[in-house]
């Protein structure tokens, strides 16, 4: 398993004890969310290196087939078929050894819960007229309203599941290889690669800025002072970004960069990639056929 180089791995252990009384300070909150983002990236890379079903596939095929499943989820009308698609994501997560519990928790908490909260009021008669199934006076719930909520939530969860499988089973470098092999301009792929590295570097800077403030602050400041401090630090990140861009460009020139970017990506399809492609296309076609048979 290859892990990111040690210099890119920030110290994500909170070094400063939590402030007594009250919640987290602004600096601590931001430092924690930055640390969480970096941890997510590192964990995704570790999951993508496991010897599971999806991890072994050619990255192009993985990207295209999971994209096909996401498009299929958007075309399905029946709640029951959407629930079956959620089942497909669970089977794929299990076969890819990414941990079904954490996979489902992530999908339902980050996407399903939000979709439910957004859609729930649409079940009221005032928004969706139709046959009342739960009579609650002005808050009566209708059958098409409830079915609409169920359809949206299951569709969002199924789609988020396929998107999360891409993130959890594909290393960032493999995704770039797939994009390059799919004829995305090299300049775009190179920019994506550089952006990912710069994001990790800047995240580390942002985390250090906030931990430094946390460690030097005894009392909580006013919102106005906090705003001034935050926007000053954002401006610092702008300046640092622009200066780093100049430095990186100078470094590229000093290493002989002429503007040409020959692609070194050589991907080869293996029998299992062909088999998986055929199985995915057949499964999606079968899902759409069944949906047309049983769907509303």
């Amino acid at each position: 398993m290859s892990s990111p180089c040690p210099c890119c791995r920030p110290d994500i252990t909170p070094a400063i004890p939590r402030r007594r009384g009250g919640g987290r300070s602004l600096a601590r909150k931001t430092a924690d969310s930055v640390a969480r983002a970096v941890t997510d990236v590192l964990q995704n890379e570790e999951l993508a290196a496991l010897p599971g079903l999806l991890q072994r596939l050619d990255p192009r095929i993985k990207l295209l087939t999971l994209g096909l499943f996401a498009v299929t989820a958007s075309l399905v009308h029946s709640v029951w078929v959407l629930i079956a698609l959620i089942g497909v994501t669970i089977v794929l997560a299990a076969a890819s050894r990414v941990g079904v519990g954490s996979f489902e928790r992530k999908v339902w908490l980050s996407a399903g819960l939000l979709a439910f909260l957004v859609a729930a009021p649409s079940a009221l008669r005032v928004f969706t007229p139709g046959t009342v199934v739960v009579p609650l006076g002005p808050f009566s719930l209708t059958e098409p309203g409830l079915m609409g909520v169920a359809t949206l939530v299951t569709r969002v969860v199924a789609s988020a599941g396929f998107a999360l499988l891409v993130v959890w089973t594909m290393r960032w470098s493999d995704l770039l290889k797939a994009l390059s092999a799919m004829r995305l301009p090299d300049v775009v792929v190179a920019t994506l690669a550089m952006t990912q590295k710069q994001i990790l570097t800047l995240l580390r800077t942002v985390e250090q800025i906030h931990l430094a403030r946390e460690s030097r602050t005894l009392t909580r400041g006013s919102a106005r002072a906090d705003r001034a401090w935050v926007t000053e630090r954002m401006a610092f990140v702008v300046r640092k970004s622009m200066k780093t861009a100049d430095d990186v460009y100078d470094a590229m020139l000093s290493r002989g960069f002429t503007g040409a970017m020959p692609s070194l990506v050589r991907l080869r399809m293996r029998p299992r990639d062909w088999a998986w492609s055929a199985a995915s296309v057949a499964l999606c076609a079968a899902i759409l056929y069944v949906d047309r048979m049983v769907g509303p």
């Binding site: 931001t30 989820a73 649409s122 059958e143 949206l152 952006t195």
Partner: protein
């Protein structure tokens, strides 16, 4: 309270919408790549990468607003001011791809829609409004105010476009019984809901962050705020406004009244009575163009269009007035500073 930025996840938009937005985005990316290549040349990769990294990082900062609440800025207007609007299209799109591909934030099918809202609508509206208000030779204060107004309006505009995307779903995809297949709220609910939360909260977060950063940069790195040579004076702002005005009759598609904007009669039919105070004050203000109808014009679509033109003209006039007022004040300050200075600048330098 912690509130995250605007992303449309997969599942909320039907294929009729997201496929069109992917098709719309492809030529926009191609034009942006050509323009960026012409203006930034070989330096484009590190500059765009750092611009994209910055537009990702800015969303990590918690900006304090009121009552202990914090929000995240999108930074679209700021990126457009620093890199130019076309480079901002690429930089923000790349940041959105990384958010979707690396962090699972946003979706696969909705990526085109998210890029259209946050990487096209927001930077173009924000940038050209900034240019319009700040003028040709802006003072620092005028730049800060222009950036704040640009950022606020840009985010609200992007939210309204997202609201339109959500709001048309029930019309184009539903079952025979009226069950919604994608986003369930019609235009009359989706657009005001999206607009309101951005008018009241997210827009202010965006404006506060953008103003603070522009103020700090104006002091330390004013060259970063220089107008980009690729920008054509206001042409795109006018073109964008014309397109939006032409699209306003979409509002006629929405039956009923926007959520929460009911009059006495509608409230009576919905809940069975009219609150006493609402009845008392409901008729105090007589609008010149009630319900966006133009007096004397019987065609609803035409009336809507005329109302849009009148509203846009009023907004442009007010913006122009604010800009002119700030310019006059700045002129006065420069004049008094010149009177107070004993030596001309050349003599001071010498």
């Amino acid at each position: 309270m912690d509130i995250v930025a605007m992303h449309i996840p997969d599942g909320y938009l039907g294929p009729q919408t997201y496929v069109i937005l992917w098709i719309v985005m492809i030529p926009i990316w191609a034009i942006a790549a050509r323009k960026v290549k012409r203006t930034l040349k070989a330096k484009q990769i590190p500059l765009l990468a750092l611009g994209a990294a910055f537009s990702f990082i800015i969303m990590m900062f918690n900006v304090p607003v009121i009552g202990g609440s914090t929000g995240h800025a999108v930074g679209a207007t700021l990126i457009a001011i620093i890199l130019g609007p076309w480079a901002a299209v690429i930089a923000i799109s790349i940041a959105l791809v990384i958010q979707a591909g690396l962090f699972g934030d946003g979706g696969i099918t909705a990526l085109g829609a998210n890029c259209f809202n946050m990487a096209v609508v927001a930077p173009f509206v924000g940038y050209y409004l900034y240019r319009f208000i700040s003028g040709d030779a802006p003072s620092s204060r005028r730049r800060v105010v222009a950036a704040g107004i640009g950022a606020y309006v840009a985010l609200v505009a992007a939210a309204i476009v997202a609201g339109i995307m959500f709001g048309i779903q029930p019309y184009i995809a539903h079952t025979a019984s009226g069950q919604a297949l994608y986003a369930p709220y019609k235009l009359g609910v989706a657009v005001p809901a999206m607009a309101l939360e951005h008018l009241l909260f997210f827009g202010w977060v965006e404006a506060i962050a953008t103003m603070g950063i522009v103020a700090a940069l104006a002091k330390s790195e004013p060259e970063l705020l220089q107008m980009k040579p690729a920008a054509k004076p206001l042409r795109w702002l006018w073109a964008g406004m014309a397109v939006l005005i032409l699209l306003t009759p979409i509002g006629v598609l929405a039956p009923g009244t926007a959520w929460g904007e009911w009059g006495g009669e509608e409230l009576d039919s919905l809940v069975g009575y009219v609150p006493a105070n609402l009845e008392k004050v409901g008729g105090l203000w007589k609008a010149a163009m009630p319900d966006y109808a133009t007096p004397g014009v019987s065609n609803t679509m035409l009336g809507y269009l005329i109302a849009a033109i009148v509203g846009a003209a009023l907004c442009v006039g007010i913006g122009w007035g604010v800009g002119a007022l700030l310019a006059r004040r700045r002129g006065g300050e420069v004049g008094s500073a010149a009177e107070a200075s004993p030596d001309p600048p050349a003599a001071q330098a010498g």
